[in-house]
Symmetry: C2
Subunit: 357 residues, 2 copies
């Protein structure tokens, strides 16, 4: 591991319980029965704990969507052609994708990252994750996804981006992924780290039928075996090694975004299954990072349940979203805004002249 | 029943399935795997069906919150004093209540209705539901909540308000309630109309303990018996008679808002348990009205589950909200906006140059 990454891991703070209690006291003074706004109140308290203080105004939001290609796409684990990753990267930047629309609706900044697509689009508004990256990961059924050095560089690139956003005033970051075949890589990472049998974590992704899912299970099984991560061997490995072996470029980058945001007390809104895999890696590197995470959505991918359990998170939404891109994180942003607004804008019983129970 | 109410019932249109199919075709051409935005896509199709055409831009939203007092508050079924209803009405109008804050965040218009509070506040921005209304309903354990004529006038007042909002360009209406002891009246209405035993529908409301809930069950049981609605007698009664016997002034008014909105093809976002009771009455009068309803939230009140099943609705949110006021409806508005935005603003595969599966 590198010095920069080590330094970031040391900086991950724990949530401040006292700030959550202060938020709870403020909420209990507002004109409503105690706790009657349910999970919105929990969210307000969690935001306070992560930030270390009660928010006194809206938290400027950003969504970071990172895209990369995956050599394992060659194993027929997605109904889409690999070229779609680069095409969608262009679509993110030009504003036509779901995450573009939903981020705009939420009044958030969209940061579009090329973490390593094979055929990068020539459009404005796409940032490279790192200098001298690679164009697509290797086929994980034949060997490692990427060199260890690239994996570390991508994590550090994500950390640097999160620190840059925090310095620029961004106070909540949603994360999203794009990459044809990336639920296969994410399944392999989760199967290794949990550990779990591939048949318990693999699902239809963007649209496999039952036989496609069976094939995906065998692909993940092969990837774990070839990379020496089958059985319990993944769970006792260094998470960066697992990421380098069976992960993906965007999964590595987003792991870094999570670590960097947590180090600056910026809450991280997880999206679906693929960002869940990044979160597992981050939690393996720095267990306290989960304290900065908020799960936006529950994915229909079967592995997501185990990931959320391991992270100790209960999602805000359960709407059957299975798009990724950060679309679920963007859809949860209005609630983050609402949770802060009830803290900052609601009247107290005293101010409004309303009698308490 | 009156001629105006009869006329409104005749005008309730059914959802247009062809508009939902057209919305589905549009969504399938957008740059995302089919159906991958889950319930957001269902919501987009349902909005199209209710309106009778695919929305071509944001639907201007309003939240109607109606407040009234309940004579049954004298039975000790709420930890709050009756005076709180009028105090909260003032708080709604002056912008400090949860629904005020959440409606503002959602960019919606808030319409604050005095459907009959005992001590009306002297503030700007509160509208009377009807002329010559009554100040609070009667104690339903002693007799009827309100005269039949007042009940019909309130429903008609709600219809008139919804028609006025529709004429003014409002294209989606969320409904909310306020009234100390009104979950007791709502429980009585639901127990009568479903029918169900009071012990199956009564819950803690804004904060009763177990012995308080037991007391509430006995109060509802007494109310049904005194008004001749116990056993199966409520289910075979005219819904307006049930409303007049054991309902409440705001429950009647909101029933009218639902009927009026449906008659103008304006989708209605239900809030929690009390607006669910209004919806049951509306559905009893005009079964097709449920086609215009969208359930925003699942209430922890035990009766809400049965109400939603009867209405055939699955809520968008499950956040443990138990405030009422329309707070849940306001929290669902960003998703309505998002559902329309994916229809109107996302790029198609063709336009974005993205290859299909």
């Amino acid at each position: 591991m590198s010095t920069n990454l080590d330094a970031a891991l040391v900086r991950i703070p724990r949530p401040r319980a006292e700030a959550a209690r202060e938020a709870g006291r403020l909420l209990d003074a507002k004109t409503k029965p105690k706790g009657s706004l349910g999970r919105l109140e929990e969210l307000a308290c969690r935001l306070a704990a992560i930030r270390g203080e009660v928010p006194d105004g809206p938290l400027p939001p950003a969504i970071v969507v990172a895209a990369a290609d995956h050599g394992v796409a060659g194993e027929g684990v997605s109904p889409y052609a690999q070229a779609v990753t680069g095409q969608m990267l262009a679509n993110f930047a030009s504003g036509g994708a779901a995450v573009s629309v939903l981020t705009r609706e939420a009044g958030a900044r969209l940061v579009v990252i090329d973490a390593g697509v094979v055929d990068p689009p020539r459009v404005e508004g796409v940032r490279a994750a790192i200098r001298n990256g690679i164009r697509g990961s290797g086929n994980i059924t034949h060997g490692a996804a990427m060199p260890h050095s690239i994996t570390v560089a991508l994590i550090e690139g994500g950390i640097a981006l999160a620190e840059e956003l925090a310095a620029d005033g961004i106070a909540i970051v949603g994360v999203g992924d794009m990459g044809i075949a990336n639920t296969t890589a994410a399944s392999a990472v989760c199967a290794a780290l949990l550990p779990a049998d591939p048949s318990d974590v693999c699902g239809p992704g963007t649209g496999l039928d039952a036989s496609g899912v069976s094939r995906k299970v065998e692909v993940v099984r092969a990837a774990l075996r070839v990379n020496g991560l089958d059985g319990d061997r993944g769970a006792s490995s260094d998470p960066v090694d697992v990421l380098a072996a069976v992960g993906g470029l965007e999964i590595a980058f987003l792991t870094g975004v999570m670590l960097g945001a947590a180090s600056r007390r910026v809450p991280v809104l997880l999206d679906g299954f693929v960002t869940g895999a990044s979160a597992l890696v981050a939690a393996g590197l720095a267990p306290d990072v989960t304290g900065s995470m908020i799960a936006a959505t529950r994915s229909p991918e079967p592995g997501h349940r185990f990931v959320l359990e391991r992270l100790g998170l209960v999602p805000l939404l359960d709407l059957g979203l299975r798009l990724g891109e950060g679309s679920g994180a963007a859809l949860a942003l209005p609630w983050v805004r609402a949770a802060v607004a009830i803290l900052t804008d609601m009247a107290t019983f005293e101010a409004a002249g309303v009698s308490r129970a």
